[in-house]
């Protein structure tokens, strides 16, 4: 088995005095779709943001490309971040630029490509996500699903081997969400990308996930395939896949 693309070991993270991640360990293999799941506020997005190098960890290590992200200085981290794509929950598109300029931005800044080719790359990346003719539009003119796809097009602008995607299906209708899941699978299969996705949408998890990591109150309580998760004995994992509410909420609603 090949070495993991990303390896998180004993990661501890705080917001102020509040412990958010408690000794979390996991590894992401090349070419897989690794999904981080868990209830709201369990630390999914925090883990993702630490893996991207957007937050500094309290302790632990995150190894990517044989470098520990937590130990890098600002310049080294910035260089490493150019080899990953990040698609944010709210898309993170710059409102002052057209969709095409948003996608072109990382290529112009960092891409070692022929200047004549940039427009063509932008058009192609937008076509990948089904927005081929939307390059001239402003982000405010796009629907929620289109914004997510445009954010993904920007994330893959530099052909990164690894893409982090925070809540791809949040706020989308089921058809749009299914389309986005298809897109993620296509990109993995055809472009050979590795995805780390944060979500709590069961349909998406079942469609795209090769392996999942489940967090509960900042702790990693399960790692394995979806099938293993569906048959897991861990109560919290069973609860998630059976969509059972917590006891006190269920009682309160009676």
């Amino acid at each position: 088995m090949s070495a993991p693309l990303v390896a998180v070991k004993d990661l501890v993270a705080h917001y102020g005095d509040t412990l958010i991640l408690d000794n979390v360990s996991c590894s992401v293999n090349p070419g897989e779709i690794f999904v981080i799941v868990g209830g709201s506020g369990c630390g999914k997005t925090t883990l993702l943001r630490h893996m991207c190098g957007l937050h500094a960890a309290t302790s632990g290590s995150i190894i990517y490309r044989e470098q520990d992200i937590t130990q890098l200085d600002e310049d080294e981290l910035a260089r490493l971040q150019r080899t990953i794509g990040i698609a944010f929950q709210s898309s993170g598109l710059f409102n002052s630029m057209t969709v095409g300029d948003n996608v072109a931005l990382p290529i112009r800044e960092y891409g070692d490509v022929d200047e004549r080719l940039i427009d063509a790359i932008v058009r192609m990346k937008l076509s990948f996500v089904g927005l081929g003719d939307s390059g001239h539009l402003m982000p405010s003119e796009l629907s929620g699903g289109m914004r997510k796809r445009a954010g993904l097009a920007r994330a893959i602008a530099l052909d990164p081997p690894l893409v982090y995607f925070d809540e791809p299906s949040a706020g989308l209708d089921p058809i749009m969400a299914a389309g986005l899941d298809e897109l993620i699978l296509d990109m993995r299969d055809l472009l050979g990308l590795t995805f780390v996705i944060v979500t709590h949408e069961l349909d998406s998890i079942r469609t795209v996930a090769d392996r999942i990591l489940m967090l509960d109150r900042g702790k990693a309580i399960f790692t394995g395939t979806v099938e293993e998760a569906e048959h897991s004995d861990v109560e919290r994992v069973k609860q998630l896949f059976e969509r059972r509410p917590d006891e006190f909420i269920a009682q309160r609603n009676v």
Binding site: D114, A120, M124, S127, H136, D189
Partner: protein, 361 residues
């Protein structure tokens, strides 16, 4: 129709894609020709290779030709399927350019629609600020007090400083002219009358519009972008009562106070020059200052502040409500509000000058 054939390389990447492009560019393409690219030998392809293919498609479309891909198989075929939309001829996104009269008509209609919106806002805001509290329909007194502090108390230092400096500048300028006629003492009159009638009101209003007008526009625009305005409407609350009325009443109260401080600061600024440089005794200078001022001079200045306060708040709110397009829109509307405020201040001042100095004599 003429057909031209190209063989795609075994691996289509940035280098081989460029070679393909260059081999096409060497021979000029004929009008309406069909370019066929054979992919039967292509086993691998990356996105930069795909981008060169998009570039080739654009060139062919420009010359009125068509592009055909054939022989692709396996993962290359699937990848080409994903690239396919980018290989299509782009649809004309610009549409038909409107003519001069269409543009004129559109602009006129837009100005009329905006004027109607602004008028509605004025009427509604004045009702909720001035009349509704007396009808027992509610007024947010706590916010009103907070706004008075923010718009008034926190602006005192900058308003006083600006007027003080302006007083100093006017005294320097006038003293130079008056000295040659031996009437330097009348600089005190000019400063007092100037600040009471014009300068304090306009300088204070400019400072307040840059400070408060911009803040109002940015605050409301951000609320609109974040759907807070819709949330208020969804809760059945009147936005003008909730947001605009406390701001309007607050500025109507604090602007005359700030202008009063502005007059005092300007006069002090002028007196510093008169006493320290022109050498007048303080009693002489201040007696001259006080004798030059009449109640009607001060009244003229204060009357303006009511219109200025109305204008600054309503223009700020109006631009805030008109925002669209996220953070960029917030920036644009804030700038627009300040520019409109300053234009409004100068325009109103001209009207006041015409009325006070020529109509009323």
């Amino acid at each position: 129709m003429k057909e031209r054939r190209l063989q795609a390389p075994t691996t289509l990447d940035q280098e081989s894609g460029r070679s393909l492009w260059e081999s096409l560019s060497k021979t000029p393409s004929e009008q309406g020709e069909t370019l066929v690219i054979a992919f039967n030998e292509t086993e691998k392809m990356d996105s930069l290779g795909g981008a060169w293919l998009v570039k080739i498609a654009e060139k062919i479309h420009k010359s009125g030709g068509t592009l055909k891909l054939e022989g692709q198989q396996g993962s290359v075929a699937e990848l080409l399927e994903m690239v396919a939309p980018a290989l299509q001829k782009p649809v004309n996104q610009q549409g038909v350019e409107p003519g001069f009269f269409e543009k004129l008509g559109d602009t006129t209609l837009a100005v009329l629609a905006e004027s109607r919106d602004f008028l509605e806002l004025c009427i509604d805001a004045i009702y909720w600020s001035v009349l509704a509290p007396f009808e027992g329909r509610g007024f947010r007194w706590e916010i009103f007090v907070d706004e008075m502090y923010e718009m008034g108390v926190r602006a005192i230092k900058i308003v006083c400083l600006m007027n003080f400096l302006l007083g100093l500048i006017i005294a320097m300028l006038m003293a130079k002219q008056a000295e040659s006629y031996g009437i330097s003492i009348f600089v005190a009159d000019i400063i007092m009358i100037g600040f009471a009638r014009e300068l304090a009101a306009i300088m204070t209003a400019v400072v307040v519009s840059a400070r408060t007008g911009a803040a109002i526009a940015a605050e409301i625009a951000t609320m609109k972008v974040q759907e807070e305005i819709d949330a208020l409407r969804g809760m059945g609350l009147n936005v003008n009562q909730f947001l605009v009325a406390p701001k309007l009443m607050a500025l109507l109260v604090v602007l005359p106070c700030l202008v009063t401080l502005g007059v005092l600061s300007g006069v002090i600024g002028g007196s510093v020059w008169g006493i320290a440089v022109l050498g007048f005794q303080p009693t002489v200078w201040f007696t001259q200052t006080l004798n030059s001022a009449f109640l009607e001079d001060l009244a003229q200045g204060f009357l303006k502040t009511i219109i200025f306060a109305l204008g600054i708040v309503l223009i700020g709110c109006h631009n805030g409500f008109r925002v669209s397009g996220g953070s960029r829109g917030v920036g644009l509307m804030t700038t627009r509000a300040v520019v409109m405020d300053i234009f409004m201040l100068i325009s109103c001042d001209i009207v006041f000058a015409a009325i006070f100095y020529y109509v009323l004599g």
